[in-house]
């Protein structure tokens, strides 16, 4: 791995402005890992300041942190790359609480960070797979809208799934 392979691709910097005014200066190669930003860059061309009114600075920061790690790891053409990414992804989602996860997911979705959405939905799935129905309602803030008796009926049909 000589240094020649990682030199002169675009090191253009983009300015991303979050809903709360916090700005981030990011390399284009990092920011364009997000589909939404990639589109904006392609459409608007020269524009260097991108406003993201739907994402809060805290979460934009986290999303960009993820992008940066992945962009860096992808430039090394190592075989162990996937492993590194996987390990890092695991670290990234390990201690996320429900609230952070929710906001990150919304941010990643808004920014079309497909891979990140994948990672986060995987995390949510692993957190809820064993949960009871009542816990799901609480987690997703859903109220049961079944008529009396209706829910019982559905439960009865798949009673084994509740064991």
């Amino acid at each position: 791995m000589s240094s020649s392979s990682t030199t002169t691709t675009t090191t253009r910097l983009l300015m991303l402005k979050a809903s709360d005014g916090v700005t981030f200066e990011v390399e284009e190669a990092v920011a364009t890992k997000l589909g939404a930003i990639n589109n904006m860059v392609e459409e608007e061309g020269s524009e260097d300041l991108i406003c993201l009114p739907n994402v809060n600075g805290k979460f934009l920061g986290m999303v960009l942190e993820w992008c940066k790690k992945h962009a860096n790891n992808n430039t090394n053409s190592d075989k162990g790359n996937d492993e590194v990414n996987k390990w890092w992804d695991k670290e990234f989602v390990m201690d996320l609480d429900q609230n952070t996860l929710y906001h990150l997911l919304m941010a990643a979705d808004y920014l079309s960070g497909t891979e990140l959405v994948d990672l986060l939905t995987e995390k949510v799935a692993s957190m809820i797979r064993g949960k009871k129905v009542e816990e799901i309602r609480e987690t997703f803030k859903i109220k049961s809208d079944f008529l009396p008796g209706q829910e019982e009926e559905i439960r009865k049909k798949n009673s084994w799934a509740f064991e």
Partner: protein, 412 residues
């Protein structure tokens, strides 16, 4: 990336500190607001989460709300994406008999096992249990398992059933309209997926003196049988009552006196247009060897058997991926010889990277029972033989089928 709100010790002026405090206050109010609107996770995100859940969880979550129930029961996008995710973990269904007593008479119970990995097996509840019937798995595809119910010492087909073991949903399939014989040995059954029409199909080839008389195809989407009429039936004798479906094509081994390949040829029937296609030559094998077709890693494979050695062939060239399937050449993968003279090995099916064999101990005519062991031969591995976890003590395995858990319904 230079995150300017992270400031760092180098330039944290008073202004920075004030900005950060203000940000913190603002973030927490935004969070508080958002928390109350938590239900607003967009539906496509919910579906993406659902697609990564086990079937059991999803069936439970049907009682969360009307919306969730509708999504889980009817969203075809969810069924597809869920299948794609769960296809990453290949499970295996193994069917067999286990001897439960010897005295005063030999008694067997039928068992169907689900292998989640090489060392975890659980019993599958046989939903259609009936004292008189025996089961034969016809095929397994995208989480649907097609089972034939057999009677009178497995010689008679009583019914065919479509079953999703993960959702426990099952149904009887209707009878073909004009089938003459229900004998097991005069019917060739095969179950698979027709990619072009996104349909699940059961092919039933009626044989008379081993020659094809009629071909019926049951389609899940039309929920009916139809006779494949637009195709010429070969007058060649079918060599085995099992066919193998690979990428929407059913392959059958047949006799052909004129063939230089040990008098064999391979017939192929396309599930999409329900027509026979060009015959295919098997690889050139030794005069006295037996053979068997199977599906391994989404390719058609052929095993040449000359006890105790097995030669594995794969259709096409393993090194070039796309389009190789249609090529007529065969590649020899591995020759393997079982080095245990006190046991016989029978092929039961292919799973993951391996071909599974069941081991019979040679303990005399009636006692040559299986040891409860499954052995996997992996042609591409450095160490081609692995013994899976022992299942039962005196079990005889008849078939092993690659399986994935899915939400795919037995109805259209």
């Amino acid at each position: 990336m230079e995150a300017q709100d992270q400031g760092g010790a180098t330039h944290s002026s008073l202004e920075d500190v004030i900005t950060r405090i203000r940000d913190c206050v603002r973030i927490s109010t935004v969070e508080a607001q958002a928390a109350t609107h938590h239900q607003s996770l967009p539906e496509d995100i919910i579906v993406r989460i659902m697609s990564k859940l086990p079937v059991k969880s999803l069936l439970r979550f049907k009682s969360v709300s009307k919306r969730w129930r509708t999504l889980i029961t009817t969203d075809s996008h969810l069924v597809t994406t869920h299948l794609r995710h769960s296809s990453a973990s290949r499970l295996c269904i193994v069917s067999g008999n286990e001897r439960v007593s010897t005295f005063p008479c030999r008694k067997y119970v039928e068992r169907m096992l689900l292998l989640r990995d090489e060392s975890t097996a659980e019993d599958l509840e046989i939903v259609l249990y009936h004292h008189w019937f025996r089961f034969e798995i016809v095929g397994s595809c995208n989480g649907l398992v097609c089972v034939a119910l057999l009677a009178i010492a497995r010689t008679w087909i009583v019914d065919t059933v479509l079953w999703n073991p993960a959702t426990k949903e099952w149904r009887y399939l209707p009878e073909p309209i004009s089938s003459e014989s229900q004998r097991r040995d005069s019917n060739l059954l095969s179950f698979g997926y027709d990619h072009d029409n996104s349909d699940y199909k059961l092919v039933r080839v009626e044989l008379k003196a081993r020659k094809m008389v009629r071909v019926h195809v049951f389609s899940r989407s039309s929920n009916s049988w139809r006779q494949a009429t637009g195709t010429d039936l070969s007058d060649k004798e079918v060599a085995q009552e099992v066919g193998v479906i690979v990428n929407g094509v059913l392959y059958l081994m047949a006799h052909d006196e004129n063939s230089s390949r040990n008098g064999r040829t391979i017939l192929s029937f396309n599930l999409c247009d329900e027509k026979f296609e060009d015959e295919m030559r098997p690889p050139l094998f030794k005069k006295r060897s037996e053979f068997c077709l199977s599906k391994w890693k989404d390719s058609l494979t052929l095993q040449e058997v000359e006890f105790p050695s097995f030669i594995f062939w794969v259709k096409g060239d393993m090194s070039s991926s796309a389009g190789a399937q249609r090529s007529y050449s065969w590649t020899r993968l591995l020759k393997f010889e079982f080095a245990t003279p006190a046991a016989d090995h029978y092929f039961v099916g292919a799973w993951k990277n391996g071909f599974l064999f069941t081991k019979y101990l040679n303990g005399g005519a009636y006692d040559s029972l299986d040891s409860g062991e499954l052995i996997s031969i992996e042609p591409l591995s450095h160490k081609p033989i692995t013994t899976l976890k022992k299942i039962g003590s005196e079990a005889m395995f008849s078939g092993a089928f690659d399986y994935v858990e899915s939400l795919v319904s037995v109805y259209s």
